[in-house]
Structures are given as C-alpha cells and as structure tokens.
Symmetry: C2
Subunit: 186 residues, 2 copies
C-alpha cells in the first residue's frame, strides 16, 4: 500500500493522460461504446501501456471515481467530528457546494452515461453516515429502508439534472430541495 504512494513522475503523467482522456470520451458516449484503442489514441499512450496499469476500462473509471469518494469520506469525517444539531442539512449543503466547484469533472461522473454504481455508492455513503434511520425513528424498519432508497435515488436524479441543465441553480437551493424531500417533515 505504502509503495504505491511513491509514483514516478512518468507513471503519474501516463495515468493522468489516461484519466483525462476517459473523462473526455465519457462526455460524448457511454462507457460501453468506448474502446481501449480509441482511449489510448486520444491519450497518446501505447495500448500495451494501458494494460500495464489497468486490466480494463472499468478499473480505470473506478480509479478516477475513487478520488471523489475519498474526498467525500474525508469531509464527512471532519464534519461529523464536531457535533452539530443540524448536521444533516449542513453536510448535504457542503457536498452540493463541492459538486458545484468540481462541476466539469462531476457532471461527467454523475451523468447517466457513466457509472450508476459510483453514484449510488457516493450518496449511500452520505446517507449511511448520517444514519438516516435515526431521522426515521419510530417507523417500520422495512418502510424506513424503502424511504432511504427513494431518498438516495431521488438525490442522484436531481443532481444529474442540476449538472446537466443551464443556467445552474445555486447549490444552496439544491441542498434545500434534497433536504426537504429526503427527510420527513418534522
């Protein structure tokens, strides 16, 4: 694990070229329609070099996604350390602002063209940490889980629409809508 942290300048450049190229291609078409060949062509990297780094396109995509996942994890950690009565709303707003700041990358990663698994993982992480269950106390556990799924998928859909549409609504508005729709009125 520690060894991998020490990447030579050359390999870093190659990996970045591959990652950037994939993002560019994903803006045009779904992953299934992208070939290793054209990716390498665009990245100006030899095809065999690609295979030296990743077994397939899926792995490359997951590598890219990992950065965002890591950021969210770290941020959640920080935010939840200091106790805050209204933590839920604050976390959601914080994440929305992050998304707005990294719009160009995330509009691709969050698009329906991209990887649904990542999107669910991302939102599931947030709602899981927040422990939505405590917000839904008193209700039937099976029903609470269903509401949870509605909230996660609904948030994904809203965020996708937000990132795809112009002009862009302010992150605060989006956060407010998510909060009001995902959580039961108190």
């Amino acid at each position: 694990m520690a060894r991998e942290l020490v990447e030579s300048r050359r390999t870093q450049y190659t990996r970045r070229a591959l990652r950037d190229a994939l993002i560019e291609l994903l803006a045009d078409k779904p992953l299934a329609r992208i070939t290793v060949r054209e990716l390498c062509e665009r990245a100006d990297v030899n095809r065999s070099t690609f295979y030296a780094h990743y077994p397939d396109l899926d792995s490359l995509l997951r590598d890219i996604e990992e950065d965002t996942i890591d950021w969210v994890n770290g941020t959640l950690q920080q935010l939840l350390e200091r106790p805050d009565p209204d933590s839920v709303g604050r976390v959601i707003e914080h994440v929305c602002r992050y998304i707005a700041d990294n719009r160009s990358h995330l509009r691709v990663l969050m698009s329906p063209q991209a990887d649904l698994r990542f999107q669910q993982q991302l939102l599931g992480l947030i709602y899981g940490r927040i422990d939505l269950a405590t917000q839904l106390q008193g209700t039937d556990p099976q029903e609470a889980e269903m509401r949870m799924h509605f909230a996660v998928s609904g948030s994904i859909g809203l965020l996708q629409h937000w990132l795809a549409s112009e002009p862009t609504a302010p992150p605060e508005t989006v956060a407010r809508i998510i909060t009001t729709m995902a959580l039961p009125a108190r």
Copy 2:
C-alpha cells in the same frame, strides 16, 4: 405499420425465443456483457436470423420494453378519462399493482443492470401525464422541475429495491410511500 401486425406463427415464435433468452441473460449480467452470439445460442436461433429481426441487442431490448410502455400508456388513458379528484394516488397504486403482478419480467427490466432509459421513460410518462406541475403550483418553475426529477428517480430507486428484496412488501405500501415522498404535503 399495419403489415407488421400480421406476423406469421414462425416469426412470432422466433421473436419470443429471442426475447425470453435476453430476459434470462439480463438476470445474470448487464446488457454490455451480453453478446449476440450467446443470446442466439441460448435462444436456439441462428445468428443471422437475429440480424434479420433486429440490428442489435439494444433494439431487441427496446422491443421488449415497448410492451410495458404500451400497457402503461393504455392504462393511464383509461384511468384519466374518468375524472377523479384523487387520480394521482390511484394511478400510482394501479401501476404498483401491475408491477407486482408481472414481477418476474419487471424485476429484470427495472434492475440497475438493465436499461436506465426505459425506467426514466416509464416513470416520466406517468408523472408527465399526471402533470405534477399542477400539484406544484405556485412554486418556482425551475424548482418544480428539480422536484420532478427527484420524484422520478426516487420512485425508480424504490421500485428497484422493492423488486429485488424479499419478502415483498404489498404494492399498497409502496404506492403510499411514493405518493407521500413525491408529492408535497398539502
């Protein structure tokens, strides 16, 4: 158009074989990992015969999905003809019951493995016809659209979870959750 309605018994059998085979395969893996070859093998249909019917796997899938779309369209037409003050809740419940009745097919078509486009089309159809906008009267149109997207995606996620989980909750419960979360409290 009229000509296509008259299908010989043979072609009907072939098409059904292909459709059933695809449903079976989709239960195992996503569309992207399914090849025309293995589909034909399972369907016991010659590969060139497949191409005589469909240009690619995507078209076959859309053909299957069309049946459900047609049913929903027809049902909506019927239900919305007779005016009903509480039409929204009734439509949603009706659709949930249909899904429960055709569980085996729809659990595949609705799965994340399958086609997201279909799922959005299906739910978008319902919410569009219902004209959720009227439910959201008085609010900012941009915000109304965002809530709409939340509602559609949320419903999809909930339905996916519902179809995938055991034991199965009654359709009435699911309909109630969708109604309460998608529509603003009056």
